[in-house]
Symmetry: C2
Subunit: 330 residues, 2 copies
């Protein structure tokens, strides 16, 4: 006897089953492979995990930083500061954002006074905008950015230490100038510093922002900044202010944590009064602080919520400058 159906179907079914199962098995192996690829690996991704030792994959890119300094109408201060900052340890390159529209960059003079420890690039701008310094400059090769105002002098010791702290907290803005927002019963936010009431979370004060005019942060955030709502750029352009508040909003949204880590500076100075230009910074405008409170509230509207979070961590350098600065009465 034969079962006619078993001949062709049996073999065909056998072959079809074989094909089918091969396909299924291949698909499942691909799925397994994809899942394996998703397993956590130690790799040099864009936003590295906190406190991970910097990998030696690209020594220069991870162990050095790029100074970005925007300048307007204070070339004498700029040049004074460049002499200082060009020699900071672990500096890779300086990018000067030249907001002196129509004015020649001092390149000739700079070159005539060479050689210099690191390359300095003058980026000529077409419009004098506060947010010019937040472009994603192609010259930027390092993971870390040090952003400094063109009237701020921070000691090399402070910078070297703060850079090492940033390497342990690369998701955060690690810097020297803490600020905070407070909320009020009306729901309107106010911006300020220690002169404002404490936010009321336990003892002491809190900060919710670290200003980028004297801080390290990850270069990836410059990339992120290019992808913000138009209203953010409009706000910064309208006020010629608040780019730093916007960056803190961006970082806080990205991490879900306090945007900044405050490193208490030993030696930080404002050289503003030393300029011959007679130009004094934007923060002297009568409306400056009110504008910043205004910006906080506008940004909450734009981002549909308040992403800033409080921190009360203040970091200092153990045993420096005083080798026993941690001594206690025990």
């Amino acid at each position: 006897r034969h079962f006619h159906f078993c001949k062709l179907p049996g073999r065909v079914m056998g072959i079809r089953l074989l094909r089918f199962t091969s396909v299924v098995i291949v698909v499942l192996l691909l799925v397994a492979g994809a899942l394996t690829a998703l397993l956590p690996t130690v790799k040099d991704d864009k936003m590295p995990n906190l406190r991970r030792e910097p990998k030696a994959q690209s020594q220069s890119a991870l162990d050095s930083f790029t100074l970005i300094m925007q300048t307007y109408n204070r070339t004498d201060l700029l040049l004074k500061l460049l002499n200082h900052y060009q020699a900071i340890p672990h500096l890779h390159k300086v990018i000067v954002v030249w907001n002196n529209i129509g004015e020649k960059i001092p390149e000739e003079m700079w070159n005539s006074l060479g050689p210099h420890p690191v390359p300095v690039v003058f980026k000529v701008q077409t419009v004098n905008r506060m947010r010019n310094r937040l472009q994603n400059f192609p010259e930027l090769e390092t993971k870390a950015v040090l952003m400094m105002d063109d009237d701020t002098l921070v000691s090399a010791h402070d910078l070297a230490f703060a850079f090492s702290v940033w390497q342990q907290f690369p998701e955060h803005i690690v810097g020297f100038v803490p600020r905070k927002h407070i909320s009020t019963p009306s729901g309107v936010y106010s911006y300020g510093s220690f002169e404002l009431q404490n936010p009321g979370f336990g003892n002491g004060d809190q900060y919710s922002m670290v200003l980028i005019g004297a801080a390290f942060f990850h270069s990836g955030y410059l990339e992120d900044f290019q992808r913000q709502p138009e209203a953010v750029y409009a706000l910064i352009d309208e006020t010629q202010n608040c780019d730093d508040i916007a960056m803190n909003f961006l970082v806080a949204k990205h991490t879900g944590k306090p945007s900044g880590v405050f490193v208490k500076p030993v030696d930080i100075r404002n050289l503003e009064k030393d300029t011959n230009s007679g130009y004094s910074g934007m923060w002297h405008r009568a409306e400056h602080l009110l504008q910043r409170s205004y910006c906080v509230n506008k940004l909450v509207n734009i981002y549909d919520g308040m992403p800033l979070k409080y921190s009360n961590i203040m970091i200092s350098q153990f045993g420096f400058p005083n080798y026993a600065n941690h001594k206690n009465k025990m």
Copy 2:
């Protein structure tokens, strides 16, 4: 015609293939499931990621800590300290490790002076061992342990702040007493504090240990401690010392990072001289510090390497006690 072979084999082969492929598919699905389980998830695992906001899964277990205080021959100090520590915010329970062998615990007196803010458990020991405090006590319900020496008074403010810091660095020993090792050209290590030479990594000093006699750490490390080489227990028992150095080795090995995070205390006091017992602590023994250097070298042998890493991060509380303690000259 029939192909005799196709009948039975075809159907049987079909069924066998079916069974085989079912098994393969099930196995691959299990593998895929296992890989999925290995993907990083936000779960309340034993060693949570750094700086993750504490989940509200078990409010009490994550937001409170257990004080473990070992005591020997200083019951007057113990009781004085218990009055202070029993009222610390976020305290869940106190475990007193009673090293007064053969002596009755002051339970009657304790109860007669109740009620008390939190449960206090007296764990009677059979042998007076330094490492008794490093048992994995079943009464321990919280993720965090606060370990205090029975002669050390730390203010509630310091403890509340340090606990909040621990919650941001739960892998680390977060405490108030930093120490370091230094290596010498001979390869022999030495133990000490700021009076020793700086290890020479940039400016200032470094610490590589935070002593557990005034520190927060994850209760999981008590569990880990039970699984150490016998030689570690022998060393601690031989010296009646160095349990804290051993814990720092354990934590550093576990994390691959500096074991401790130093929080600078505002108010820490040693009440040793206030005791009526006339008993002064182990650290007054002539050989105490030499013993600790000895322990460092022994532990390096036992663990076949030096796992301790240096840190120079010193954490203070922003705006406390002085609301403007972060002010700078800018």
